[in-house]
């Protein structure tokens, strides 16, 4: 069943892709092939492969139970929040919090998770900022 749903999603994706390809605005100057042809070929291959999934699905994978899905959803939310907060609050604080959360949900006791957060944040700062000299997000306190 999963493969069949996947096949349908694939076909929708391929249809969307081909449609978006046909509406690409051609510029005045174009080469002989143009910007549409190759994406349309790819979209077609995508659709054909999807059809095959509907016709001949593989065995059903094991999906997580409801609690598992909630955990993953929460992790995604935290990571998105991290991505957005990083430039605003700076690297050190956000990284410590995000690491601690993930470590906690992966089964660490709270105090260990917090420690892991602080150490990870500090360690990465050392490697990326101090040794490699990359610019990490600065934040209001300068780190």
């Amino acid at each position: 069943m999963s493969d069949r749903i996947f096949g349908v999603v694939g076909i929708l994706l391929s249809a969307l892709f081909i449609w978006r390809a046909t509406v690409i605005q051609e510029s005045f100057m174009s080469d002989a092939v143009g910007p549409k042809t190759f994406p349309i070929i790819i979209g077609t291959i995508l659709g054909l492969a999807s059809l095959y999934f509907i016709a001949r699905p593989d065995a059903e994978p094991v999906w997580p139970r409801f609690t598992g899905l909630i955990e993953i959803f929460m992790a995604i939310v935290v990571l998105i929040a991290y991505a957005i907060a990083l430039p605003e609050l700076g690297f050190a604080i956000t990284t410590a919090i995000a690491t601690a959360y993930l470590s906690w949900r992966l089964g660490s006791p709270a105090w260990q998770a917090l420690l892991a957060g602080l150490l990870t944040s500090g360690g990465l700062y050392l490697v990326f900022r101090v040794i490699l000299g990359l610019s990490l997000a600065r934040g209001p306190f300068g780190f």
Binding site: I24, S27, I45, Y52, I76, L106, F128, L134, L136
Partner: protein, 515 residues
């Protein structure tokens, strides 16, 4: 032997305490950079350029430092591929296929050592190839026009089937998905935006690093979170550590891998020589050809040492090969050589047809440096295997958050944009779902990596021929490539089912024997 005399002069230039020290530093930093997901050789070299200038190094020492970083990163990429199933950089992608299964079987030490040896073999012979063949190989690169490049890329995708998945259709789907993602952004030929939905961040397309890190590293984190949730709450779980096992592979393993290493070295080197093809294609073609040639029992993909040796020899040989067009034509064969080219130029050295005449000291010093870097890396890597393997001992509840954060920081440090981080999360979720559905992730990356070049060359070829599509099969070379591509695609479909039946039987036998 004029060449050997020049090489000896090169060593005379390169063998000083200062230069050896720089090679050591470069190799060490390069290995770390290569192992960190999100940072690859090209970024690594670019990041360390200021270091070279801050130290006030002359042309030769600077090049020694930076090429050591380059080779070091090529070595280092394999480490996280094997230990964590996360490619440290794009050429190390194929190493995950057999490297990680080996680690899970408790053979991580062997896999690391073997891949270190394979890297050495690939890089070592490629450097000799650079010494003797550079002027000749330039002519090979000139045989490839746009039509031939298109055939070559098609070949790469056609031989893809069945490498990473048992379901050919899913591999095709994954490749098409990757190619589709590669289409996002401003079209390089006409300048019109495609599939960008008006989002300015998408104009440059989706960086394959973002995709790699999302698909491999983040999806791995989700897998572990799912597992943690599935376990009964309250029950303090034991992290199931894979055994470390022996560090040095037995002679019989090394011997069985030797032919694979040598073949892959040749293939990888040639792939590296072609401008624009690069190390990823080298490791990829090496792996798929070896699979076709020696994988009689269907053990590739389940932890076959030859499946570790082939791509590692291939990608390190390609790293050497990529220096051929860079030095002899001034045309970089890969992203990293593009950066090295920039460094050379900034040192007032113009790579190109006259480099060997005008700056022999720099060229031969550089080549000597490559040899030195190779030996340093071998000497550095084998003893460090035990240390690396200990990473596996870190409980996943600490290790995985660190992996996730390294991914974020690596990407953010390079692009400085939250948008890329969000795209990476999308790829993470996508990777998790696709893993569930047994859709291989490797073809997606290859699609993203090669898609733009593939389309560009198609369009160049057709434009040059004024719209005549038969130009794609006009030269003997392109016809040859097409034939290999078609055979490579059709053969597994016909032979595959029979092989798979035999494979399944063998597996049953093996498992019953173990039990």
């Amino acid at each position: 032997m004029e060449v050997l005399q020049s090489l000896a002069d090169g060593f005379a230039v390169a063998l000083t305490f200062e230069n050896l020290g720089l090679a050591l530093i470069g190799c060490f930093l390069g290995t770390i950079i290569g192992a960190l997901p999100g940072l690859g050789p090209s970024n690594g070299v670019a990041i360390l350029i200021p270091l070279a200038f801050t130290l006030g190094l002359g042309p030769t020492p600077a090049m020694i430092l930076l090429t050591s970083v380059y080779y070091g990163a090529m070595y280092g990429g394999r480490i996280s591929s094997i230990l964590l199933n996360i490619p440290g950089d794009e050429p190390a992608l194929m190493t995950t296929l057999d490297g990680h299964p080996m680690a899970r079987k408790g053979r991580a030490g062997e896999a690391l050592t073997l891949s270190g040896i394979a890297s050495f073999v690939g890089a070592f012979f490629a450097t000799w190839g650079l010494v003797f063949l550079a002027p000749l190989l330039v002519k090979v690169a000139l045989l490839f026009g746009p039509a031939e490049y298109f055939a070559l890329f098609t070949l790469a995708f056609a031989t893809l089937g069945g490498i990473a998945s048992r379901n050919q259709a899913k591999a095709v789907f994954a490749a098409a998905l990757g190619l589709g993602i590669a289409m996002i952004g401003v079209d390089g030929q006409t300048g019109v935006p495609r599939f960008t939905f008006g989002e300015v961040h998408l104009y440059d397309g989706i960086d394959f690093l973002v995709a790699i890190v999302g698909l491999f590293a983040l999806s791995e984190v989700f897998v572990f979170i799912e597992q943690a949730a599935t376990r009964n709450r309250g029950e303090r779980h034991q992290d199931d550590h894979p055994k470390i096992g022996r560090i040095l592979p037995s002679w019989s393993v090394i011997r069985s891998c030797t032919p694979s290493m040598l073949r892959s070295t040749v293939l990888g080197f040639l792939a590296g020589v072609l401008p624009g093809a690069g190390a990823s294609l080298g490791s990829f073609i090496s792996y798929s050809i070896e699979k076709r040639l020696v994988d009689k029992e269907g053990t590739f993909g389940t932890g076959d040492p030859r499946g570790v040796a082939a791509p590692e020899a291939g990608n390190n040989a390609a790293a050497g090969g990529a220096l051929v067009p860079m030095l002899a034509l001034g045309v970089p064969g890969s992203g990293t050589t593009a950066v090295l080219l920039a460094v050379l130029l900034s040192l007032n050295i113009t790579p190109g047809p006259l480099l060997f005449q005008n700056n022999p000291d720099v060229v031969w010093g550089l080549i000597a440096a490559l040899f030195i870097a190779n030996f340093v890396l071998l000497a550095l890597n084998i003893p460090m295997v035990g240390m690396f393997v200990r990473i596996l001992m870190v409980p996943t509840r600490f290790l995985m958050p660190v992996v996730a954060m390294v991914s974020f920081v690596g990407i953010y440090g390079i692009s400085g944009s939250s948008f890329d981080l969000l795209v990476m999360i999308v790829f993470g979720v996508l990777g998790w779902v696709l893993r569930k559905l047994d859709v291989p992730l490797v073809p997606i990356i290859l699609g993203i990596l090669l898609g733009a070049a593939m389309e560009k060359n198609l369009r160049r070829a057709i434009t040059i021929s004024n719209g005549d599509w038969t130009t794609l099969i006009h030269s003997g070379l392109s016809i040859t490539l097409w034939v290999i591509a078609i055979v490579g695609f059709v053969l597994p479909i016909i032979v595959g089912p029979a092989l798979r039946g035999r494979m399944a039987m063998r597996r049953d036998e093996e498992s019953s024997a173990v039990d």
